[in-house]
Amino acid sequence: MIDTADMLTICRTTYTRVLRTKSLYLLLASVLCLVGAAHLYTDLTCGRQKELMYDSGAALITLVGLLSGLMVTFDIARDLREKVALVLLSKPLGRAHYLLGKFFGVAYLVTINIALVTVGIMAILHWEFGGWKWDFLQVALSTWGSMIMVTALGVLFASFLTELPAALLTLVVFVLGHSWEFLARTGAGIGKILFCVLPNFCLLDFKSELGNTIGVSWGVVLMAVVYALVYSIALLSLSTILFSKRDLA
């Protein structure tokens, strides 16, 4: 049903395109510099530099992943504006293949960037404090899951909106998606249904727990990642439906 060759073609092109974005390299370099320089903050933090490095590392992984993931909204919208999408979709290329190709291209970039920053931060933590912080991998993995969801959200919004509204809406949902915890605590059934149906980023946020050395089991982290992947499939399915109805004027 899904022609993987078509999808891979779009995936590779998308990856090539986003990879040529110079600002991304600057961001990666600044992230590592910022974390690396955190040991200079010993006096500023009254001895909390270890926590600072861990938490800012976790936050910066999120930031890098978020910016990489959001690129999909700009990429699809730019394709439509510059009529690249018209050219490609006027050929025997399915719209679903096009969207999935875009998603996988950006998801690949997200994966590479998160992996790079994770390795960098873990190396810095090891260099500064000795020993390997293996629980940081839990942070990185769960962040990767949430960024895959952000990318799928970006695809969804870009399938019917222009770049800026799509990017802003993705960002808003990402921010609000961290606050749905209260819905689960409400006794009402509707609250719980919303908690399950809405994109729930708080299920993937282990930064605070791990930062406070409250242990999280690998089972829960892996389940959260599976949740992110399954929810991304739902988002991509919805994107495909919406995009198939869209008039590409």
């Binding site: 040529r20 018209l86 006027s90």
Partner: protein, 332 residues
């Protein structure tokens, strides 16, 4: 099997949320384009040309009606396997070089690497971009963009080439080259379906044209059948005053040129009546010259007539000056 066929193809847009406004972009289009022809699709801005093309290529969903490309329904993506398309004012993948972009198009058509390489070189040579293989598309001029656009449209050696305003942005040399390419495609038995505003080129190139006005097809057929003989000039050696007086109300002008009388008629319908009068008066007709209408004149005439019939303002008409009203030039 027609190259392009539509039946009652209609597109209605609904805009606005609180107070929806309906806009009929295309209304019941029925069209048949036979294979091997160059078909010109004409109409003023907003007539529905691009909408039709995009519906044919599956980019826009029709509100109702059907369309077929090379016998296959337009919603079937395999229908586009034998079609090449150049959109209006394209910018393409600016981050790719021309050869990379053509390679990408080849991949979408599932061509193998060797074929892609061969076709890329051929297409770049065809559109005169040999030597620009490594140049990024972002560095291309508007004319070069049209060329690379044409190259990608022809990458799969299509049976039907759909071009939306292909002459836009081309210099006279570019236009000439494009016309040559289109004629060559015709010779190879391919169908070319294109929209344009440059009517002189359309008249020169096209076998058939279709004219759209405000979403409706108002004229369609072979160019030679559509454009009419509009005026007639009769030349006679002698012309008596008596005959002249009889002819004068029917003629636009009667002049004497080099010992011949020249009678200009505005309408060919009066030619028989004038000829009869001349014959009766003993004046022998030396020469009959017919003034042919251009496609542009035909286009304007049809658009004006259709607009008036449907109660729309005629495009390009200046607002009439009311009696006693003076246009005051604003010198501020």
């Amino acid at each position: 099997m027609n190259a392009v066929e539509t039946q009652d193809l209609t597109k209605e847009y609904v805009t606005g949320w609180r107070k929806p406004v309906r806009l009929m972009a295309l209304e019941g289009l029925g069209l048949e384009v036979k294979p091997g022809l160059i078909f010109g699709f004409l109409g003023p801005n907003g007539a529905g040309k691009s909408t039709t093309i995009k519906m044919l290529l599956g980019l826009i969903t029709p509100t109702r009606g059907e369309g077929f490309l090379m016998g296959k329904p337009i919603y079937d993506k395999t229908a586009r396997e034998r079609v090449g398309f150049l959109p209006e004012d394209p910018s393409f993948c600016a981050y790719l070089s021309s050869s990379e972009f053509l390679d990408l198009c080849g991949k979408v058509f599932h061509m193998d690497k060797a074929t892609r390489r061969k076709r890329t070189a051929e297409m770049l040579a065809l559109v005169g971009l040999t030597g620009k293989e490594k140049t990024r598309i972002s560095e291309f001029s508007r004319g070069m963009l049209q060329r690379i656009g044409l190259a990608q449209a022809l990458m799969n050696n299509p049976d039907l080439v759909v071009l939306d305003e292909p002459l836009n942005g081309l210099d006279p040399y570019g236009r000439k080259e494009l016309k040559n390419i289109l004629h060559r495609l015709k010779r190879e038995g391919k169908t070319v379906f294109f929209s344009s505003h440059i009517l002189s080129d359309v008249q020169e190139m096209c076998d058939e044209v279709g004219i759209l006005n405000r979403g409706r097809m108002i004229a369609c057929g072979p160019v030679k059948d559509l454009v009419q003989a509009q005026s007639v000039k009769l030349q006679v050696a002698t012309l008596s005053m008596d005959v002249m007086q009889k002819i004068e109300p029917l003629a636009k002008a009667i002049t004497r040129e080099h010992n011949r009388w020249s009678i200009e008629l505005e309408d060919t319908s009066k030619q028989a009546q004038v000829t009869d009068l001349l014959r009766e008066g003993g004046a022998a007709t030396v020469e009959v010259a017919r003034g042919m209408e251009t496609l542009e004149e035909f286009f304007f005439r049809q658009i004006a007539r259709n607009s008036r019939e449907r109660g729309f303002p005629v495009p390009g008409d200046e607002p009439a000056e009311k009696p006693g009203e003076k246009i005051v030039e604003n010198k501020g």
